[in-house]
Every structure is written in structure tokens, then in C-alpha cells.
Symmetry: D2
Subunit: 350 residues, 4 copies
């Protein structure tokens, strides 16, 4: 009954096997390994993007902020939802890597921007000439921080607003695989065909040890990305171990299988919760995360029985009226068992 | 009928006289001029702060961002009203100078934070440990960007919230003189006695050519300020010309006299506007700025007769229904004539 | 007998007159003043550069670092002489404004790079791909920090090396007028025709209160410069006072007259020093600065008689063997009197 | 015959075993894993530093620049040898992370600073007050970039100079294990007892996949380090995989065994080279790197037979007189076989 984070799950055994296999003999360092050549080719194939530049880093923050920095000069506005990970959970790393750009926050229910809220926010920004930050980039998080998913048409609608203002589009796809299987879209359709210019293509939360790809659909920024990655300290000397993880991830659709499992577990969890008297969903459950509200007393009970998860939003207290609802985030991953779901629902329902 | 900005007004003739007087013979550079010694002593006296460190720079942005940078590490949150000048009109200069701190925006009517909105915003920031920006500093703008003024007790109430969280307080006093004469407070009462740690003490908008003092009531940051000023490119070699302006400003209460005149003109303007059918004030008029709404048709009329001012907020259009109200910012300065006020009111009223 | 710095001299009376004249009535702020239009046109005319973008700032550091930042991304190498002002006297301001570029230091006697030392340094930089800083820009100081002057052909030779590597060229012309009258060149010949892309065109050291122009011969960087100036805090609200100074500077060749006077005084000083037994020049005297070595005992003597100047380089001590030579920097300006020169030489010679 | 870099070697099989063992079940993320508790305790024990703060990152650049940034404000000078990795091979990452500090380069043969060259450089830096960068930190690389090793007394002598000026000391120990076994010193003696304040304790080059520890002997900077690590994008969510590598590294002295093997192979290689007519060592061979010079013709020969290594310094050409010596860097690691050494020597000697 461990729902704290997909970051707490182990890597898939096939990933470990690939690492062990890659651990033989000498291999060129700093990305010159032959495994990376295969990874690059495979990602280009999967995304139907034969010109894309592809790089690997080890953390989602690195993937995001290096991508943003390539497109956002220090005087620019980065438009994102006010609950975006880049705003709420990266300790001003985008500001650091861009040299002081400003995140301009867009409203919207369930952590989703709408074309209207995005357009309004862009329109109000940068009208004052040199006195204001200039419109820079739009960053879309898919899966969102509330577990909701933008469909292909929703991404396209946001990107269309961005393009109206000549702005490039970044997608924070830390849970991209979960969004993809949720929408049943093709990778190309959910990204560059919808107007995305650069993608943080997550792997860590979905069964890797620690690898994220950055896919620059427009390779013009490739060299700048390489320089920024190096001086960010994110270029791995023994790069083969990043490559090997990503190679295993993409082989035989392992990445999609793992995401399908995670999403299915969350489906089961959400369905079960909706049957609990006094329980409800705080946000639609589209992928592998369930945001549920249930009475404070039940939190005490299921936690006592071993359930682990985050109270969300974090300012809610577990002290107080036991009947009052308190909401929580419950995250499933590739390794979440049906038994864990059922055990949790049983504890909640008892 | 020129109400565009106090930045468009000339310097007071006494300031020019002081400049000419200072322009004789050799004088030590980089702040070693004897005039600066007098200025420092006089500011300490005016603020009843014998230990304060006092520095001069030439722009309000420099005064603000150097002050913030001394107190706000790159991972910190700067709490300010969402209409603060540092947020809206400095092109992410605070982010640049701090190395990427984040401005966290506080709500409140008429560009004023309240103790409640400030506390709520602080409370919600930085709870997530290392993943979030850390609570850094509170920045209060007095006079606000909407022309309202925080009283001594209001400043003290905000500073008390800051102190509850151990946070230092900055005051953006680009129009400090106008706030002071509006509140009838003493400089010490409106600043350090109320809890302000560092003040941007404006002169440019109030009759100088281009000088702002930074008053560090706690001199511990003095050396850091000097280094940041230098590498910001804000240390003047021929510093005497900054000193001379400030010396003239403070002599014989010229600064207060100029602010009183500006505020009185705005009083007269606001009173007149309130008598115009269909006109109203968008914000309380506390100092030298009047935010007035009147029918679009009247804007065309008074502009045709030579009135100059900014439509505020800037997204409003002058094209459309002539009866619909459109709001404007009208700024008075030390040199605004009563005849200008009356001419404008006459044009508006005709 | 004040030879500490041209920064210690007053502004020329005509500059003060121009300031007083500009101090009448309202005028658009932030560079929209009509005086700036005249200044821009005049600088374009003087430099025979009708497309150049022209901006004013108040300090030489600001002019230099904003110029460098427009051309040098954070991962780039700025090639300059190891005694350049940007390396030695700006407290890492270039590193701040560029976001962390690296100054790569070039050798050469008398603070002058040679085509050979420059080429060798460029050649050795950035060969290691992503691991090294990339070749960025060449910055030439003319007049140098040792008072020597690059001729037109010397500037052109350095710029040719830069162009061989596709690098843009900056000129730190804090004492540009002194270099110009020393070389008897035209402004265009000493700058863009020789290969300079951006010039810090100094005024402060040569009779202004505090104004430097930045001349971007290639106006492509103009908007970026404006944004960087704003967020650096270097955009003046009451910009007219910068414009007025520069207008007076350029009128009737005042700037050249002042530089000619300063250089002539230094000529007189250098000639006199060479006649003093035991005195010598540490560097060729090409413009308004004399670097002279004479016995320690004489330093005590002339200082006792009121001479003011800097021991240069600064690590030399005035304590020790009175016969040992100690070198000094003696700076002349537009207002240095022949009597000052003769008085100093007399004191030295007595 | 692969001597290109220790970065090209695989990880030790025990490290892979530890990774597989750690890959079971859920585990707290972001460093809260229980393996990290053991790692921290073990490093404190090894270094006899029970108060030290210990963190893991994945790259040597990250370890170095985060350490430097905690001690070096943006206006400071970082004193290091002119061939230090932080100067030559990190693409101005220190400048980026510190917000624009300046690396001030110290001379010395074989990539080693001496107390004299260090003192002289420190003494000449920062004397000009606010105009110069301020003395910040000394960074010592051990093993150096030329393969030489500072002994305990040499580190202590450099640190003593630093302490004379009140400066903290960083050690870039990317090859710390190799230095340690070379000097036969204890970890405490070679670091904090000699005056080192913070150590980049490398693992990647010595048999790990990608882990470096940062050991802050003075834990005062711990929280700042954590914030800088996070916003640098260097906090791993699935941190257990860093911990597990380091745990295996330290268990049963694996780290020392691997370093001993690497050093012994280099000993064998150096001895062999010295017997080759026309070959010589460019630098003393103290640890696992051999810098050898031999005729250009031999380079062609051994490369044709499969030897891989870097020409060092990199500006030397392989085209030209076949008898002329060209120097090379030959790196041994834990997995370099004696047969590789002997094969290489045989090829060279034939």
C-alpha cells in the first residue's frame, strides 16, 4: 500500500539486466557510446522525427530547465500553469538556468491551462516594451500535477495560442508514457504534430533508475543544449549507463506496458474509492495518479494499517474533526500490485 | 496638462545650482567625495539612524534590486504585491540580480498587501523543504503603484507578519517623500521603527535628475552592497554629482516641500474629477497620483486639447463605445501647476 | 598637482550649461527625449555609420558589460589583455552580466595585445568541444590601461585575427577621444572600418559628469541591448540629462578639444620627467596618462608638496630604500593646467 | 590497450550486484533511503569526521561546482592551478553556479601549485577594494590533471597559505582514491587535518557508474548545499541507486583496492616506457596516469595496433616529423590488465 510516489518504485528488472549487459569492456565516454546511437535512432523512429536532436540526462528537473534555457532568454516570460512542477517543485531552478526569466502563471481547473486562460495571460504580458519581461515560451505539463491529462486536441489548442504569439512550446513529460497510453495517441501526435518544440521525455518515474530524454524536434538548438548540459554538470562521463536504461525502456514497448499497468491500477483505485461512502475524487483520474478526499478519521485508520501517501495539497492538517474530508495523492506505478489496491480499498472501506 | 509621469518633470532649480556648485576643482571619485560624507550624515540624522549605511545610485531599479540581492539568496521567495514595480516594471531585474530568486505575488485591493494576504502567501510558500523556494524577504512599495499609501501602522502590521517568519523587509520608496507627507509620519516611524530593514529612498521622481539613496538600517550588509553595486555597474566614478543632488534635496526640506506640492496638486485634481459627471476614482488618492475613470469620449476630447497621461491598466482601448468608462493614471509632481490642474478639469468638464 | 584620475576632474562648464538648458519643462522619459534623437543622429554622423544603434548609460562598466553580454553567451571566452579594465577593475561584472562567461587573458607588453599573442590564445581555447568555453569575442581597450594607444592598423590587425575565427570585436573606449586625437584617425577608421562591432564610447573621463555611449555598428543587437540595459537597472527615467551631456560633448568638437588638451598636458609631463635624473617612463606615453618611475625619496617629496597620484602597480611600497625607483600613474584631463605640470616637475626636480 | 580515460572503464561487478540488490520494493526518494544513512555513517567513519555533512551527486562537475558555490560569492576569486579541471574542462560551470565568480590561475610545474605561487597570486588579488574580485577560496586538485599527487604535507602547506588569508579550501578529488593510495595517507590526514573544508570525493573514475560524494567537513553549509543541489537539478529522486553504488564502493575497501590496481598498472606502464629509447615521462607518475613523450612515428605504430589514448596537450599534431616527440596521456583504471600494459609496451618497443 505504497502510493507516495512513482519515484519510490524500483526499476524494472529488464532495466537492470540491460545495465549489467552494458557493463562490459571499455566504451567511449560523454555520449559517444554506441548504445546512445541506437537510442537516438529509436527515439527518432518512435516520434517519427528523423531530424530530432536527442539527449539524455538523469533528472527531470535537468531535462526541464535545460530545455527552457535553450529557448528562454533571461528577460522572457515562461507561461505555465500555477501548479506546474517547474513552478512549484524545482526550487527556482528554471530561474537559475535561464539567468532570471520569470514564470508567469496561468489559471485553470485541475492543473490544466485552457486556451482562454493562456491567451489572456500571454496577452497581458510584455505589453510595456522594455519595462516588462518579454513573451518567451509556453510549458505544458502532461500528465499534469493533478493527474489530469491533456488530449492531443487540448495540447494542439494550447500550442495554437502559443503560435499566435510566435512562441515555442515545451512539454514537461515526466509522465509522458502515462499521458500517451491515457490518450491512446501516437508520440508524434501528442508532441510535434500538436505544436510541441521540445519534450522532456520522462523515464525515471516509469520504471527507470534515473534517465530522462530531451527531444528537440527542431535540432537548431542542439549545440546550445550540449553546452548548457555540460556546464550544468549534467553530461555523464560514463554515459553508457544512461543509454542502456533508455534502450531497455524503449525495447519491446516496455515503457508503454509499464505505463499501462500504472494507469490501470489507478483506474481500479479510483473506481474503488468512488464506492466508499464519504470519499470523492478531487480531480479527474486520467492516468496513474488518484487525488481522493475522504474523512480525516479514515486517513488515520489506513495509515495505521500501513498505507503510505502524501496529503495533497500539503497545507491540510491531519489533526481535527475526524469527519471532515482531507484530500490525498495516491500514485500508482508499473509495480503497484492489484493486491495493494484492494488492500487499501479494504482498509478504507472497513 | 502633462500628467504622464513624475519622471517627465524637470529637476528643481536648486538641484541644478548644487550641481554647478559641486563642479569645481578635483574631488575624490567613487564615493570618496566630501559631499557624500555630508549626505550620509544628513540621512542618518533625518532617519534617526546613526548606524545606517547609506549609498547612492542613479536609478530606482538599481536601488531596489541591489537591496533585494543583499538579502535574498537565489533560492528565496520575495513576497510583494502582484502590482509591485519590482514585479511589473523592471523586466525581471530582481531575478537577474538575485541570481534567480522568485517573486511570489500577494493579493490585495488598490495595490496594497494586507497582513492577511501576506501571511497566507508566506504560509503557503516553502513548506516542501528543498523542493520549494525558501521564504526570503517582504518588499513593500510605499507609495503603491496605484497611488495608495501604507500608513505607519499598516507598514508595521506587514512587517510584523514578516518578522513572525524571521524575514527582513524592504521598502521600495521611489515615492517615499510623497508617502511621508501623506502620512505625516517621521522618516524613522515609517521605516525602521515599523520594521523596515532597507529602504530605496527615491529622489528622481521628486525633483532630482537621477539619484536614489539606499538606506541599510542594519549596516551588516554594507560591504556586500558595495560589491554588488560595483559589479552591477552602478558605482559612479564622478560620484560627487550624485551626492550634490541629494545634498540639495535634503537641504531646507526641499524634498518634503516638493512632495507636498505634488500631493496637493493631486488632491486638487481628485476633488475636481469627483465633481465631473460620469467620472470616478479607481483607487483612493493618497499621494501624488490620481487613478480616474471617465468616459472614453472625454479621453479623446482632453487629449485633443493637449492632456498627456497613461491609460491604466494599459490593456484598455481608446477605440469603442464613447460612453464607456476608461481609466487613466494622472501623476502630479513638484512642478505641476494649479493652472494645469484647472485647465485639465475645465477640458474634462466642458 | 592632481593626477590621481581623470575621474576626479570636474565636468566642462559647457556641459553644465547644457544640463541647465535641458532642465525646462516636461520631456518624455526613458530615452524618448528629443535631445536623444539629436545625439543619435550626431553620433551616426561622426562615425559615418547611419545604421548604428546608439544608447547612453552612466558608467563605463555598464557600457562595457552590456556590450559584452549582447555578444557573449554564458559559455563563451572573452579574449582581452590581462590588464584590461574589464578583467582588473570591474569586480567580475562581465561574468555577472554574461551569466558566467570566462575572460581569457592575452599577454603583451604595455597592456597591448599583439596579433600573435591574441591568435595563440584564441587557438588554444575551445578546442575540446563541449568541455571548454567556446570562443566568444575579442575586447580591445583603447587607450589601454598602461596609457598606450592602438593605432588604426593595430586595431585592424587584432580584429583581423578575431575575424579569422568569426569572432565579433568590442572596443572599450573609456578614453576613446584620447586615443582618437593621439592617432589622428577618424572615428570610423579607428572602429568599424578596422573591424570593431561595438564601442563603449566614453565621456565621463573626458569632461562629462557621467555618460558613456554604446555604439552598436551592427544594429541587430539593438533590442537585446535595450532589454539588458533595462534589467541591469541602467535605463534612466529622466534620460534627458544623459542626452544633454552627450549633446554638449559632441557640439563644436568639445570632446576632441578636451582630449587634445589632456594629451598635450601628458606630453609636457612626460617630456619633463624624462629630463629628471633617475626618472624614466614605464610605458610609452601615447595619450593622457604618464607611467613614470622615479626614486622612492622623490615620491615622499612631491607628495609632501601636494601631488596626488596612484602608485602603479599597486603592490609597490612607499616604505624602503629611498633611492629605489617606484612607478606611478599620472593622469591628465581636460582641466589639467600647465602650471600643475610645471609645479609637479619643479617639485620633482628640485 | 585502452588508455583514453578511466571514464571509459566499466563499473566493478560488485557495484552492479549492489544495484540489483537495491532494486527491490519501495524506498523513500530524494535521499531519504536507508542505504544513504549507511553511506553517510561509513564516510564519516572513514574520514574520522562524525559531524561531516555528506551528499551524493552523479557527476564530478556537479560535485565541484556545488561545493564551490557554497563558499564563493559571485564577487570572489577562486584560486586554482591554471590546468585545473574546474578551469579547463567544465565549460565555465563554476562561473555559472557561483553567479559569476572568477577563477584566478596559479602557476606551478606539473599542474601543482606551490605555496609560493599560491601566496603570490592571492596577495596580488583583491587589493583594490570594491573594484576587484575578493579573495574567495582555494581549490586543490588531487590527483592533478598531470597525474601528479600532492602529499599530505603539500596539501597542508597550500591550506596554510589559504588560512593565512582566511580562505576556505576545496579539494577536487575526482581521483581521490588514487591520491590516497599513492600517498599512503589516511583520508582524514589528506583532507580536513591538512586544512581541507570540502571534498569532492570521486567514485565514477574509479569503478562506479556515476557517483561522487561531497563531504562538507564543516556542516554549516549543509542546508545551502541541499538547496543548490536541488536547483542545479542534481537531487536524484530514485536516490537509492546512488547510495547503493557508494555503499558497494566503500565496502571491504573496494575503492582502495581498485585504486591500488590502477596505480600499480600505471607504475608498470611508466617503468616500461622509461626503458624505451626516445621515450620519456612528461610529468612524474604518481598515481594512475602516465604522461609520456615518444616519437611521432611510434604513435602511428601503436595506434595502428589498437592502442587508444589522448594526445596531451591537445594542440600537438600527429602529422609531421616522425622522430619528433609527441606527448600523450595514458590512463589506467581498476580494470586495466597487465596484458594491456605489456601489449602496449611491446608495440612501442618493437
Amino acid at each position: 500500500m505504497f502510493f507516495s510516489s512513482d519515484n519510490s518504485s524500483p526499476a524494472h528488472p529488464k532495466v537492470m539486466e540491460a545495465l549489467v549487459a552494458a557493463n562490459a569492456g571499455y566504451m567511449p565516454s560523454y555520449g559517444g557510446d554506441p548504445i546512445m546511437d541506437e537510442v537516438r535512432a529509436r527515439i527518432r523512429e518512435i516520434f517519427e522525427a528523423p531530424e530530432a536532436a536527442v539527449y539524455l540526462v538523469a533528472t527531470g528537473t535537468a531535462a526541464n530547465v535545460l530545455s527552457l534555457a535553450c529557448y528562454c532568454p533571461p528577460w522572457s516570460a515562461i507561461f505555465c500553469h500555477r501548479n506546474a512542477h517547474i513552478e512549484e517543485d524545482e526550487c527556482a531552478s528554471p530561474e537559475f538556468y535561464t539567468g532570471g526569466a520569470k514564470l508567469v502563471l496561468v489559471d485553470g481547473e485541475h492543473a490544466k491551462m485552457t486556451p482562454e486562460t493562456l491567451r489572456e495571460t500571454i496577452r497581458f504580458t510584455g505589453r510595456g516594451g522594455v519595462h516588462n519581461v518579454q513573451r518567451g515560451m509556453v510549458s505544458i505539463t502532461d500528465v499534469t500535477e493533478n493527474g489530469t491529462v491533456y488530449s492531443v486536441s487540448e495540447v494542439a489548442a494550447l500550442a495554437a495560442v502559443a503560435k499566435d504569439y510566435g512562441l515555442p512550446v515545451h512539454m514537461d513529460g515526466a509522465r509522458f508514457a502515462n499521458a500517451l497510453v491515457s490518450t491512446n495517441a501516437s508520440p508524434a501526435d501528442l508532441t510535434w504534430r500538436a505544436g510541441v518544440d521540445v519534450l522532456s521525455f520522462g523515464g525515471t518515474k516509469n520504471g527507470l533508475m534515473g534517465v530522462e530524454a530531451v527531444v528537440l524536434f527542431d535540432p537548431d538548438k542542439a549545440w546550445e543544449f550540449e553546452l548548457r548540459r555540460k556546464r550544468g554538470g549534467h553530461l555523464f562521463s560514463k554515459h553508457r549507463y544512461l543509454s542502456a536504461q533508455m534502450q531497455a525502456y524503449l525495447a519491446d514497448d516496455l515503457w508503454l506496458d509499464m505505463a499501462r499497468t500504472a494507469n490501470a491500477r489507478a483506474d481500479r483505485l479510483a473506481e474503488g474509492i468512488l464506492k466508499i461512502p464519504g470519499a470523492s475524487l478531487a480531480h479527474p483520474q486520467d492516468a496513474n495518479m488518484v487525488f481522493a478526499a475522504f474523512p480525516r478519521g479514515l486517513h488515520h485508520k489506513v495509515r495505521a494499517e500501513g498505507a503510505a501517501y502524501h496529503i495533497w495539497p500539503g497545507h491540510q492538517s491531519l489533526e481535527g474533526d475526524p469527519d471532515e474530508p482531507v484530500s490525498a495523492r495516491l500514485v500508482c506505478s508499473w509495480c503497484t500490485g492489484e493486491d495493494e489496491i484492494d488492500g487499501f480499498l479494504g482498509a478504507l472501506n472497513a
